[in-house]
Symmetry: C2
Subunit: 424 residues, 2 copies
Amino acid sequence: MKLRIYNAKILTPHGIINGELRTDGDRIVYLSPVSTLDWQDWDREIDLGGNLLAPSFKNAHTHSAMTFLRSRAEDMPLKDWLYKQVFPAEAKLTDEDCYYFTRLAVAEYYSGGTTYCSEMYGHTEAVAQAFADTGFGSFIGSGIFDFDGGYDDITKRAEELKCKIDKLPRQRYALAMHAQYTCGEQTLRAVSDLSEKFSLPVTTHLSETQEEVESCKEKYGLSPVKLLAEKGIFDLGGTGYHCVHLDDEDIKILKNCRVGAVTCPCSNLKLASGIAPLKKLLDAGITLGVGTDGAASNNALDMFRETYLATVLQKYLENDAVAVSAKDIYRAATDGKAFGLENADGLYIGALADMVVIDLDAPNMQPLNDIESNLVYAGGRQNVIMTISGGKVVYEKGEYLYGEDYGALLEKCNAAAERIKNEI
Amino acid sequence: MKLRIYNAKILTPHGIINGELRTDGDRIVYLSPVSTLDWQDWDREIDLGGNLLAPSFKNAHTHSAMTFLRSRAEDMPLKDWLYKQVFPAEAKLTDEDCYYFTRLAVAEYYSGGTTYCSEMYGHTEAVAQAFADTGFGSFIGSGIFDFDGGYDDITKRAEELKCKIDKLPRQRYALAMHAQYTCGEQTLRAVSDLSEKFSLPVTTHLSETQEEVESCKEKYGLSPVKLLAEKGIFDLGGTGYHCVHLDDEDIKILKNCRVGAVTCPCSNLKLASGIAPLKKLLDAGITLGVGTDGAASNNALDMFRETYLATVLQKYLENDAVAVSAKDIYRAATDGKAFGLENADGLYIGALADMVVIDLDAPNMQPLNDIESNLVYAGGRQNVIMTISGGKVVYEKGEYLYGEDYGALLEKCNAAAERIKNEI
């Protein structure tokens, strides 16, 4: 697939260029203010009419199939919600359920300008298959924990899963460990050994709640960050999801171990977990990512809302209207670096062709004082008029263009949600 | 104008009814699960195809014409922003500028499901005219302060303004006082006397920042709430915008004086002002409203974002995932009671025909576990497919249906924004 996109405002790492961008396969191959006529065998020419072409969002932490729990049980105490609603319902999920609920998530991602994610969930092959079938990109793992069995079970399962995932288009196996509080000594050793064996960094939930940090200190005499560093989990770097409750020493360790930090502000507020110290993380030079977490605790998969919140919450937390800049957070929300994605840090020749078209005529994007600030502070999913994933137009003005029978998908998802409700 | 809206899920104060709703003029005149055939002279029949008909948002605090400053100068210290950007730019605004920037705001309101607001701004007649010309409803005042002159100037100007505003369709004069920190003894007395004379409660910025509260205590030995109550400003009730920094005694006074409290969570975060104690206010029985504040400090006029944030920030503030319910905040964001609007507290016979149609098939609204929770926790402006203001369809699938030449409007707004930038 070759696209020619012209008459565009192109948001590059060096500012906005009025011009033309071309793709070949999943890469950007041309970007210039000038239209040359040396190459004309494009599959589609798209006149943007002066609208904005920007990098797509890269959702750095999510559990996509959890769309099945959206608005299932709201405004409940956290433990009742988890033990009476989430866990019993998850136990009833089948591979097929997860496949379709992930396709529902992809529809939401695409209509909101997201094309890649860092995913952790059970039924991992079904989830990865849904991503592959819709052209969505992911780094995906199961979230290894003690319930997976002993050292040998974990190792064998990870090897099999890696082999299968890595064969799927736009999917890459991620060595995802659920969290220190669900992983005993043996599991931690298995993950650490797998990291060395696969030459892969480890992604994990990390210091999400105060309670988690306190119970870890009680059990090990160490914070979760220190514990995992000591156990060799971060020997090859890694990614920490949430990173809400960190002390200065934790931050130093994350920096020294090259661990990226992913913030999920909506989920952290909704579950009353807290506000992550993004300014401190940025000041320490830690690579930042932005994620939605699953729809059960958010409840949208809306990277505009996350990006906005990540920015303004720091202003509140630091009592400083200048705490972090819109541009820094927008970069973190679009480059995927925190979970290891490469060549997605902006639109340039050689970069991944993962992009969105933003309707600059929408009232919330006017007047055009500062387009990047408009995106973060005023932008929303209603402004996304096209999404391009891996060089393919997957979403355009309300339509999904990858062969989705959307009506049938909704029927399947509602029937499954109803069945699960009745089974528990 | 008479509308027949059928095949709808109608969100009423008593839950969702599958059925039909009819309007005559600006009122709902029929609402039933059954379609009778006794009345057939409707101007338009609308088949909702099972989508949701819900009350529109009522924006309880805004400065609509401030769209001209959207993303004008971001990530700056508050004082630099105010004194070097906002005030000098506002000084260059003309009536005509304000008229068109308000029309731009209305386009944003309508496309996001808002049909009414509590407005405070200079160039008040031009702003009210823009609302009237677009069918948008408002309670509107200038924001009286010391710069308006002495007792007689203030009184005369208010009388003239009230007379003009009250003649405009869907506009009602509001006795709006800017804030205690911009109003000396004489101005406070003028406002208090006007309140008695007009039989109108007073709306005012109230306890927005810690600094405001501290400086008031230093000057008067009283908190802003106590000062204004003592000066008779709240003798007929009133509305306080922001209400971030309140002590228990302030909350008692607000309750006893029947003062509604309006929360603007996005603006309060972005300007690092703090988080309003909504749970305490609700527990005390105070009428709550939700507002966007102006686009200069937000930067969107997006009531979905405000409603979401108001809800989840309380969970964070109270460290309790159950702190306030989605339904309580949604009611506050749609009933307009905090600024005195009547008959807008839900869809029922006799209520104002101010409504939105929500696309329930959108991926973020699926599955249909709980429609009201979906609206607050997952909903967004992309879900609004129609807005009805005062019984008229004003917005439908991206089109403005009140005679707006939208392209020309954007040209006018951008030219004015550019001119003002060059003048300062």
